[in-house]
Symmetry: C2
Subunit: 151 residues, 2 copies
């Protein structure tokens, strides 16, 4: 954890931003809840536990900054809110998501499944791929089991 904080601190410094206490508190929340896909509001409430005087606007500003630096990815699953997801350490690409249409849980696929597809896109469409977003919508394992039992 501390190691990753250090890393992010350096990334900020490289662009001449500081890791202020508010920013650090926000990053810590993101690290602690790495598996979740938190909204700005969620993050705000969690950061408030560590740093009660923080303002919502600061959280938004921090998330925006982290987003620009590609430390987090801003995602949107179609409900009205943006969610923020830490990039895996050293990952060049955004990871994929499996969104269950029944229970709403979001699983992650860290492995990059798109290498072949990207090559195809670069060759056939002459489009130079820098990043991607891939989300599958469907039924997760648990809901499949529940459905089977119900029948």
């Amino acid at each position: 954890m501390e190691h990753r904080i250090e890393r992010i601190k350096k990334q900020l410094h490289a662009e001449s931003y500081k890791l202020t206490p508010q920013r650090e508190a926000t990053v810590r929340v993101l690290l602690e809840r790495e598996e979740d896909h938190l909204s700005a509001e969620d993050i705000y409430l969690l950061v408030k536990e560590k740093a009660p005087e923080i303002g919502l606007a600061t959280v938004y500003r921090t998330l925006e900054l982290l987003s620009e630096l590609k430390i987090v990815d801003k995602i949107n699953f179609g409900d009205g809110v943006s969610r923020y997801d830490l990039r895996k350490e050293g990952a060049a690409h955004f990871h994929h998501h499996l969104v269950c249409m029944e229970c709403g849980t979001v699983e992650e696929i860290v492995e990059d499944l798109l290498e072949d597809v990207e090559k195809k896109v670069e060759n056939q469409w002459q489009f130079q791929v820098k990043d991607h977003r891939l989300t599958f919508h469907g039924i997760c394992r648990k809901c499949q089991q529940n459905n089977n039992e119900a029948n």
Copy 2:
């Protein structure tokens, strides 16, 4: 065009909705501007040319309805607005997008590039895929050329 309107009319009837003049005007705009990725506001302005008395709320309601019936897909490229995209006739899956990070244009890939990837997801993650969203971010052909010339 008329053929596709008929089709959509049937799809609505099948769920006991009607193709009102307002809904038809909205669908016509979507058909005419199929290549674009219009926001609700954009669509509203275009529909107003055909049916000046239409209200913005009706356009939203229509788009919501068409979305539920999977006649259109609601997409979000990260700017603050939802965009609406007609499904290609008979397409089981949402088509893919190439978003240029420099000029912002959005190209479409109709071909399904994900068949193999979906099989992998179903097998390895036991996730039953119903649909997907795939967007590539990068540099389009035109901007690549411009960049080369500039050097």
